[in-house]
Each structure stands twice: as structure tokens, then as C-alpha cells.
């Protein structure tokens, strides 16, 4: 059974005319890794807030359709119950730090304190989560003294330690350098490998190609395309509608126009696919 089930979801922010997302149908299976791509203003963050319960519990406005996660409907739940099922991490790692804790260890324990986890179990869970995201060495540092990549891993760990069923990530690497991006993706990969359901909004197409089971392309608040990374990310529709695409796809498409890439071969997304594809013709 699908753990995430969205039926005909339309949402309008307060004081706006146009809905930010409309007629969204989305089912995500338990353990699935779904990536969402889309140009600015496509409704990606709105979808994340809807999945994580901040719509309608934090942002008011008008929500229609049903949003159901793990069999519970968002309208019939409260935010503090909902966040136990769905974890949300977003772009700016700095703003995700609680601001009231002095060490990384305390920071990660913050959520567990809020839900009344006994001290012994709390420590065990914090330490296990830090080991999983490879930040055990940061335990005694101030969350504010960390690099962006480290901070984002702390933010992710703080969510993971709550053991949500579904992890929603809204561009978690958009402010990271390549090293930070790699660090954060290692964590996401690990989570997915452990069977967590991951829904990731991301602009870094090559990373998506590597990890996602399914890609959803969002445009003007609606689902434009849906399918495997290979199908969606190489679709000619994407560049036409202002989506960012992989530079390797773009090079191969140009090459294809000049007869340097066979028309029947799927366009590459990652560097490795491009290398393999071009190398095949040279033999």
C-alpha cells in the first residue's frame, strides 16, 4: 500500500488568486525514493509543505483534496502528531538549527526531548543517528561553528533521530559546495538504503539520476511528467518549459542533432553515461 497518498490536491496561499499546486495525484510506496524537479515557482516547496503538514496547519489558505500519510489524513491530524510521521528538512541549514542548544549533541536531542523520550533511550538514539550520518566527531561543537555541509547534516540528523516514516527534503543541498553536497547525499543515500521513504526536491539532476526510483516534473503547480529518471530527465519537454537539465543531456542532444549521437539511444544524464555513450561510437 502506498505510504503517501495525495488525491486531487489543490492549494492556494492566503491572499493569492492562483493556486500554488493544483490537481496533484501522487502515490509513493514505502521505501521508494522519489525526486521532484521543477523551475522556480513550480510549486515544489508548496508540495513539500503539504506533505509535511505545514499546509494546512502552519500556512493557512485553502487546501482541497486529500493528503494521507501512513493511513492518516492531514486535516484530521495536528501538526505535532504529523511531524512524527513526516520529517522535513530544507535549504538553509542555518535556519534549521533550533537556536536554543549549545552543542550538536543537544541539538539532535531537541526533538526527542519535545516528545518525551526517556533519557537513556534518547542518548542511544542520538548516538546511533550521529554514527549513521558520520557526525559523531562534531558532538561537542556549537551548531553555529560548523560549515554549511556539516550544519545540514546536523539538521538532517535532528530529523532522522525522530524516526519519521517519510523524509521530505526541500533542496537540501542548494546552498552547499560540491563537498557539502556529496556529504549530504551520502546521508540521503544511507537513509534510502535503510528503507526510509524519501521525497527529494533537487536541482542537481545528476545526483537524482543516481539515486531516485522515480522522478516527478512539476510545472506551474501541476505534474507535467512522471516516470523513471531516464525517461523524465531526458525528455525534450523539460528544456522547453524552463527546467534545468543535465549538461550531459544537453551536449548529447546537440550531438544528436549533428548525427554524433544515435537518435535511438537514450540521452545520458550523468557524466559516466555520456562517456560510455560517446565511447561506444568510437570503437
Amino acid at each position: 500500500m502506498a505510504i503517501v497518498n495525495l488525491q486531487d490536491v489543490t492549494y492556494k496561499y492566503p491572499l493569492t488568486e492562483e493556486p500554488a499546486i493544483r490537481n496533484i495525484h501522487l502515490q509513493v510506496e514505502e521505501g521508494e525514493f522519489v525526486a521532484i524537479v521543477g523551475p522556480n515557482g513550480a510549486g515544489k516547496s508548496t508540495l513539500c509543505y503539504t506533505l509535511s503538514g505545514f499546509i494546512p496547519h502552519f500556512f493557512k489558505g485553502e487546501l482541497n483534496g486529500t493528503v494521507e500519510i501512513a493511513g492518516v489524513e492531514t486535516q484530521k491530524s495536528s501538526l505535532d502528531e504529523w511531524v512524527l510521521n513526516v520529517g522535513l528538512a530544507f535549504q538553509n541549514p542555518f535556519n534549521q538549527i533550533s537556536g536554543s542548544k549549545f552543542t550538536v549533541y543537544e541539538e539532535i536531542a531537541f526533538g526527542l526531548e519535545n516528545i518525551g523520550v526517556p533519557r537513556g533511550e534518547m542518548k542511544a538514539r542520538v548516538e546511533a543517528a550521529m554514527a549513521m550520518t558520520a557526525i559523531s566527531d562534531l558532538a561537542d561543537r556549537s551548531p553555529y561553528s560548523l560549515s554549511g555541509g556539516q550544519q545540514q547534516r546536523v539538521a538532517l540528523t535532528s530529523i532522522l533521530v525522530m524516526e519519521p516514516k517519510v523524509l521530505v527534503l526541500d533542496e537540501p543541498t542548494s546552498q552547499m559546495d560540491p563537498i557539502g553536497t556529496r556529504e549530504v547525499f551520502q546521508v540521503i543515500k544511507e537513509m534510502s538504503a535503510r528503507g526510509m521513504t524519501v521525497i527529494l526536491v533537487e536541482h542537481k539532476i545528476e545526483w537524482i539520476a543516481e539515486f531516485a526510483d522515480r522522478v516527478i516534473a512539476l510545472h506551474n503547480g501541476e505534474i507535467l511528467l512522471e516516470g523513471t529518471p531516464g525517461e523524465v530527465l531526458t525528455s525534450p519537454l523539460l528544456p522547453e518549459r524552463g527546467f534545468g537539465i543535465s549538461r550531459y543531456t544537453s551536449v548529447a542532444r546537440t550531438a544528436s542533432g549533428q548525427g554524433l549521437w544515435p537518435g535511438d539511444r537514450r540521452l545520458p544524464i550523468t557524466l559516466q553515461e555520456a562517456v560510455d555513450g560517446f565511447a561506444r561510437d568510437r570503437k
Binding site: S52, G99, G116, R119, M122
Partner: protein
């Protein structure tokens, strides 16, 4: 950015192990005794026989003397000087010294000394408290005793926000300077240069508030479940007894003021 945002010195000592509320009550007892207790020498005795020995007990004597010396001595010294010089001469006071048109009287010096020593007790008791009490521990303890979680959050978050704001302000200043804003020069010029800083700093912080709110909500901050605490905060029978003792001292101090002598 500096890792250290508080006065707290992590050390193994019996004073560190005392319950935060007990220490807080003790600090207030010291302050109230100093201001309302009987006797001219009481505040000085509190420092010499109370606060200083406690700083040794807490093994923070060096930090205590350094902080008290840097922070407090200039203020207290200045206060002492001004009070003794400008203390109103009521006529029958004994003049100790004459400086230009000002009379330094025995009463003036006594009054100045008393005021300075009271201030010294107040601030240095707090310094000792901050040196040996982790803010998280204080807040966890107070939350456990019924203080609202939101209030505790506001206090600890405020403690941390100052260095962040400083860092952000210096980034904004650097950005403005790189676009030609002159922040050196005369006082007026420098004050003028502060204006372009306030917009980005204030509005930027307001925008952050929403994200911060979402982030802490995502971690069940508003959960109705009973909160627990990572830190184990000792609260022994001795702590309870000590708190009653200090409360008694506070009552006695007030009592001594009200008692018709």
C-alpha cells in the same frame, strides 16, 4: 565564529553539581542580604567569606577574578569615586579631604563604599553563577519545575542570537564597504554608515523567524506530550535544604529592614 557563547566553564566541582535553582536562590539571597541586610560590612563579608571561597570551591577562581576584575572593578571604582566626591554634604559631616570646591567627607566615603560593595556582591554573585551553571541546565531545570517551554526557548535562543547578529552585521558591513560605503572617518560619518546596516539586518532576521519556526515545529516543539531532558540535573535533599536556608536568609534580611529598631 567563536565556539563559546556563554560564561560557563566546564569543570568537575561540587559547586557545578549543585542544582541550578539552588544556586540561583543563593545568588538572590546574597543580593538581598547585601542590599537589605544589617551592618555596614555585610556586603564585604559576603564577598570575602561567601563568594570568593565559593569560586575556589567551584574551581573557577581564576576566571572569577579575571571577569570580576575586568568587568566590575572599573565600574565599581568609578562609582566609589563619584559617590564619595559628590555625596551631599549635610553640614555636620567630617571633611576628610578638600578637592577644589568639593569636600570629601567621611560619610560620603562610607556611603560610596557601601554602594560599591553592594553592587560588587550583586554582579560578582551572578558571574559566579554563570561560570558554574550551564544555561541549558538552568532552563531544563526550570522547565521541569513548570516554567513554560516557550519561555525557556526564548531565553536560551536569545543568549545565542547575539554573536549571530554580530556576525551577520559584520557581513553586511563588509558587503556595503565593498560597494564603496565609507565606514571610517568622523563620528557622524560612522553613525551615518550604520543606517544602511539596519534594513538588511532587521528584515533579514524577520524572514528567518518563519523558517526557524518551521524548523522547530518539524521537531515537535509544540508537542503536547510531556517533555524530557537530555541533561540529568541533580536535585538532592541537601539542595532542597539549602534552598530553604537561603529563603530563610532572604526573609531575615527583609525582616531586619522592617523591624523597628
Amino acid at each position: 565564529m567563536k565556539d563559546k557563547l556563554t560564561f560557563y566553564i566546564e569543570r568537575e566541582s561540587s559547586l557545578h553539581r549543585v542544582n541550578p535553582l539552588t544556586k540561583l536562590v543563593m545568588v538572590f539571597a546574597f543580593i538581598i542580604l547585601a542590599f537589605f541586610g544589617p551592618g555596614f560590612w555585610l556586603p564585604s563579608l559576603l564577598v570575602v567569606l561567601g563568594i570568593i571561597p565559593l569560586s575556589f570551591l567551584g574551581r573557577v577562581q581564576r576566571e572569577y577574578f579575571r571577569t570580576a576584575g575586568r568587568l566590575l572593578l572599573p565600574v565599581v571604582g568609578f562609582l566609589f569615586l563619584m559617590q564619595s566626591v559628590f555625596h551631599p554634604d549635610v553640614g555636620d559631616s567630617r571633611v576628610l579631604l578638600q578637592v577644589w570646591v568639593l569636600n570629601v567627607t567621611v560619610e560620603g566615603v562610607r556611603f560610596a563604599y557601601l554602594t560599591a560593595s553592594r553592587i560588587f556582591v550583586m554582579v560578582s554573585a551572578f558571574i559566579l553563577f554563570l561560570l558554574t551553571t550551564h544555561p541549558s541546565e538552568l532552563m531544563s531545570d526550570l522547565t521541569r519545575r513548570g516554567l513554560s517551554g516557550t519561555f525557556a526557548y526564548v531565553i536560551t535562543a536569545t543568549l545565542q542570537i547575539i554573536p549571530q547578529m554580530q556576525a551577520k552585521a559584520s557581513t553586511i558591513i563588509d558587503a556595503q564597504r565593498s560597494r564603496g560605503l565609507d565606514t571610517d572617518g568622523s563620528f557622524r560619518k560612522r553613525v551615518g554608515a550604520l543606517l544602511p546596516l539596519t534594513g538588511p539586518l532587521v528584515f533579514g532576521s524577520l524572514v528567518e523567524v518563519e523558517e526557524r519556526a518551521i524548523a522547530i515545529e518539524a521537531r515537535a516543539f509544540t508537542s503536547k506530550l510531556e517533555k524530557t531532558s537530555l541533561r540529568e540535573i541533580p536535585d538532592t535533599k541537601l539542595d532542597k535544604a539549602a534552598r530553604w536556608f537561603f529563603l530563610l536568609l532572604i526573609v531575615l534580611a527583609f525582616g531586619s529592614k522592617l523591624w523597628p529598631s
